[in-house]
Amino acid sequence: MERKAAIREFLRTLLVRRRDRQPFSDETSLFLSSRLQSVDAVVLAVFLEENFGVDFAAMGFDPERVDTVNAILSLIEESSTLLSG
């Protein structure tokens, strides 16, 4: 839950920077709907690298996989499995 809250808060900050204060659910598309842009994707990537140890160099980066809160959570899970495996 803490993880999800941290991600939601971070995404909310990114949206506010784009003057977007609309609510978003865990399934709301953020990048493919253009609410967030490529530069936000890289800021998010750095956040995920630093806070959750996601290695995009190994996993490859696909905006679809960070498009929603739930997609980000799955990505972190997959990354943890990859690291522990």
């Binding site: 784009r18 003057r19 709301t28 598309s29 253009s34 995009f56 160099a57 490859g60 679809e64």
Partner: protein
């Protein structure tokens, strides 16, 4: 399908903005329940398709064939992707059959076979170098082939055959790149469906409209309601294209060039190259008019293509969306030619950012931005103009490309600074917060366009000379 919004639609706006952006020439008919209910009926679909066909007819764009294809796809929404592939292949036959002085269908077939081979290699050998970097492999391979073709003896049949093949391959290059990028997706489409996105029937340039199969999966209408909304938005976008087209050809061009008498930009450049005298303000007027003409032309083309894509049931984002409202250089780049920007971001920006300079903070962002806005941009345009390379030779063509390279470098610097610099506008007035930044950004791109004409190859010193003339440094 995800809800697709305009980038500005979610932003809170001030009173003057509310007034300007609140004005709608075309109402949001897709939100009216009665219209939506009608759009779901057989008669409603027929009417939408009919109106769309009239719009295409006005824009002089294959209205009969395109309306027929859209009608078939509307009638069988469950088979949309398969029909897309079939229609695109039929369309390709028509397109390449008319190509220049002789048909190029054999070259198209070879390109598709090569694409399938590359797709298979990248899928089957994921741990190989090509499997890990398929797009880099594709682009490097293509560049190498062009370089080698350059050394084939002139007048020989091998050279002619090679350049014909490379010309067709160049038209499909970035579509294949998107297919190779899709391989890393969990729900990657088979190659047969990927082909549907290669120069699709709704129209495209060498820039894939609208991206690749991964994007289409995400934006496809999943039920009758979504299809109705998507088609209504498609129809609205086509109406926008018609309005812009009317404005450009019936008002802007006649008034600016015929009534006021502002010369064409090409003529001004010719005058500058011939060292002929002309007033500096006339140069500015011509440059600004040219900048807006290109913006309108790009909008019309993008709206028409995206509208057709929406009519086929894919809720694609607009290619050009209020670029003049941009408050930063990066924002303008995103709004001016969205699918080109996306191509560079997907093929150059993300790979560079995720792999290199990971501990270098802002340098990581600079490097990725340069990889996309400068290197990727120059690569795309250099290899899109193969006729220059064929005529001049590889190295002379590269030499003649220096003004565009300069353009991409300045653009990358501008975008990099704009990305790093965060502007707080919360407490600024509409004039300081929106109008002045928008004018500065538009001014930046307008001046930079002197160097950024990729269709003509003016020497860089001539571009600088014109700029010096415009700021009244020389006469």
């Amino acid at each position: 399908m995800t809800a697709v919004t305009d980038p500005l639609a979610t932003a809170p706006v001030s009173a003057p903005e509310r007034f300007f952006w609140g004005l709608r020439l075309i109402p949001r008919i897709e939100t009216y329940p009665a219209v939506l209910a009608f759009a779901k009926t057989f008669v409603g679909k027929l009417m939408i398709l009919g109106l769309f066909g009239i719009g295409l007819w006005y824009l002089n764009w294959h209205y009969r064939a395109l309306t027929l294809v859209l009608a078939v796809i509307t009638a069988f929404p469950r088979h949309r992707r398969v029909l897309l592939t079939a229609s695109t292949l039929v369309w390709a036959c028509g397109l390449w059959w008319r190509w220049a002085d002789h048909p190029q269908l054999i070259q198209v077939a070879i390109v598709l076979v090569v694409a399938q081979l590359l797709f298979w290699l990248a899928t089957g050998f994921r741990n190989s170098w090509f499997g890990r970097r398929p797009v880099a492999g594709l682009l490097a391979g293509f560049a190498l082939l062009v370089l080698l073709a350059n050394y084939l003896p002139r007048g020989g049949s091998l050279r002619t055959v090679s350049w014909h093949f490379l010309t067709v391959a160049a038209a499909y290059l970035w579509f294949i790149a998107y297919s190779l990028l899709d391989i890393s997706s969990k729900s990657c489409d088979p190659f047969t469906l990927q082909v549907g996105t290669y120069q699709p029937f709704w129209g495209s340039t060498a820039v894939p409209f609208v991206k690749g199969a991964a994007y289409l999966r995400r934006i496809e209408a999943q039920n009758a309601e979504q299809l109705a909304v998507t088609q209504l938005k498609g129809l609205k976008l086509l109406v926008w294209a018609v309005i812009l087209n009317l404005f450009l050809w019936k008002a802007f061009l006649p008034v600016v060039h015929a009534y006021i008498g502002i010369p064409l930009y090409d003529d001004i450049f010719d005058l500058s190259m011939r060292r002929a005298a002309f007033p500096w303000y006339l140069g500015w007027a011509s440059l600004i008019a040219h900048f807006f003409e290109r913006l309108a032309e790009l909008s019309i083309m993008g709206h028409r293509i995206v509208a057709s894509c929406r009519m086929a049931g894919f809720m694609a984002l607009r290619n050009t969306c209020r670029p003049l409202a941009s408050r930063s250089i990066a924002e303008f780049w995103n709004r001016y030619y969205y699918y080109f920007k996306e191509l560079l971001v997907d093929c150059f920006f993300y790979p560079t950012f995720m792999r290199y300079f990971k501990r270098r903070g802002h340098w990581r962002l600079f490097a990725a931005t340069f990889a996309a806005a400068s290197f990727g941009n120059a690569f795309y345009h250099f290899f899109s103009s193969l006729h220059y390379i064929e005529e001049l030779g590889f190295w002379r063509a590269l030499e003649g490309f220096q003004s565009y390279i300069f353009y991409t470098i300045v653009l990358a610097v501008g975008i990099s600074i704009s990305q790093v610099r965060e502007r707080k506008i919360e407490n600024l007035s509409w004039i300081r917060g929106r109008l002045i930044p928008a004018l500065c950004v538009t001014g930046f791109y307008c001046v930079l366009s002197i160097f950024g004409d990729s269709s003509k190859r003016y020497p860089i010193q001539e571009c600088f000379r014109l700029l010096a003339h415009l700021v009244n440094l020389i006469h």
